[in-house]
Amino acid sequence: MQFSSTNSQAYREGLHDGIPIGLGYFAVAFSLGIICRSSGFSVFQGFLASFLNNTSAGEFAAITLIGAGASYLEIAMVTLIANARYLLMSCALSQRFASDTPMIHRLGVAFAVTDELFGIAIARPGMLNPWYYYGAMSMAIPGWSSGTALGIIAGSQLPARIVSALSVALFGMFLAVIIPPARQSKVILAVILTSFAASFIASTWPALAAFSSGTRTIILTVAISTMAALLHPLKADAQFEEA
């Protein structure tokens, strides 16, 4: 693929949309850095872990266990469970790739399929230009890994007020992705309201609250998406992005 002006434009749009993600990641990663420190990670090791993983729940879970002296197998298992939702996201994302997209771009985008980057990619109409994704990655990955490193260096948290305010940035982004389509489609609106309600019940109902939040997300995603697909299947000839 030539680096055409279209790609350069897409890259810049990705950079722009990646700014709030990078900032949000930076704040959240700061508290991950604190955990890294207590688990015996050096500044470089924490930076490396975040640079290579780009996961919040997965890293939190695994690094806490490492601090408790977990085996290699346990770390592989907890990483697998906490991050299994990315398998679903990558499947969904694969449908936004033109079928002739070169393998190198598939390998490149896969490096950072995260909740937020997935969210903004899926919110773009039509097929995904990998350069848009790379632009957003260029903001998100440095934010996440440098935030982790700084958290280890500083050792104590930012003022609680600031952390609290920044922590909702990510949720604001989620809302910006899911709400506008809900305005167009009553089915999506119903799916979102059902998800809110089910998630609330799952977090308080002892039988489900015992699972990690990553596992609950997987269970609810599979259950509610299956229900929605059975009750309101897409029209056979519809484009993927249309209800």
Binding site: H16, I19, P20, G40, A49, N54, T55, G58, A62, G69, Y72, N83, L87, L88, M89, C91, A92, L93, S94, Q95, F97, S99, R106, L107, V109, A110, V113, D115, G119, I120, R161, S164, A165, L166, S167, V168, F171, G172, F174, L175, A176, V177, I178, I179, P180, R183, I188, I192, S195, F196, S199, T221, S225, A228, A229, H232, P233, L234, A236, A243
Partner: protein, 103 residues
């Protein structure tokens, strides 16, 4: 037993990358099965909604601040504000609300 942190990091990174890359590398065609297409169409909405609520209320210092951020975020997104602006609105709401609610 003290294990090597670099080995831990390598295991985490490999498992995570495998989860992400396998679908992207191997699903090269448009999926024809209508149930699977419908299922994947709904996945992002469900996943993001499930992760937002009730976490937005639990992650702030004061749950009312989180609830206000949720309400304002939904209103801002409904009116079609950009990703960045919706996120800023939510942060500002929590910051101001907690000035009042958290002593």
């Amino acid at each position: 037993m003290k294990n090597n942190i670099y080995v831990y990091i390598a295991i985490m990174a490999l498992v995570t990358y495998a989860i992400r890359v396998i679908p992207l590398a191997f699903i090269r065609q448009e999926i024809k099965n209508n149930f699977i297409r419908s299922f994947l169409y709904y996945v992002p909405y469900v996943t993001l909604a499930v992760m937002t609520f009730p976490a937005i209320i639990n992650d702030t210092q004061n749950p009312i601040a989180g609830a206000l951020a949720l309400t304002v975020g939904i209103a801002a997104a409904w009116r079609g504000l950009s990703l960045f602006h919706v996120a800023c609105c939510c942060c500002a709401v929590v910051f101001v609300a907690e000035m009042i609610l958290v002593p």
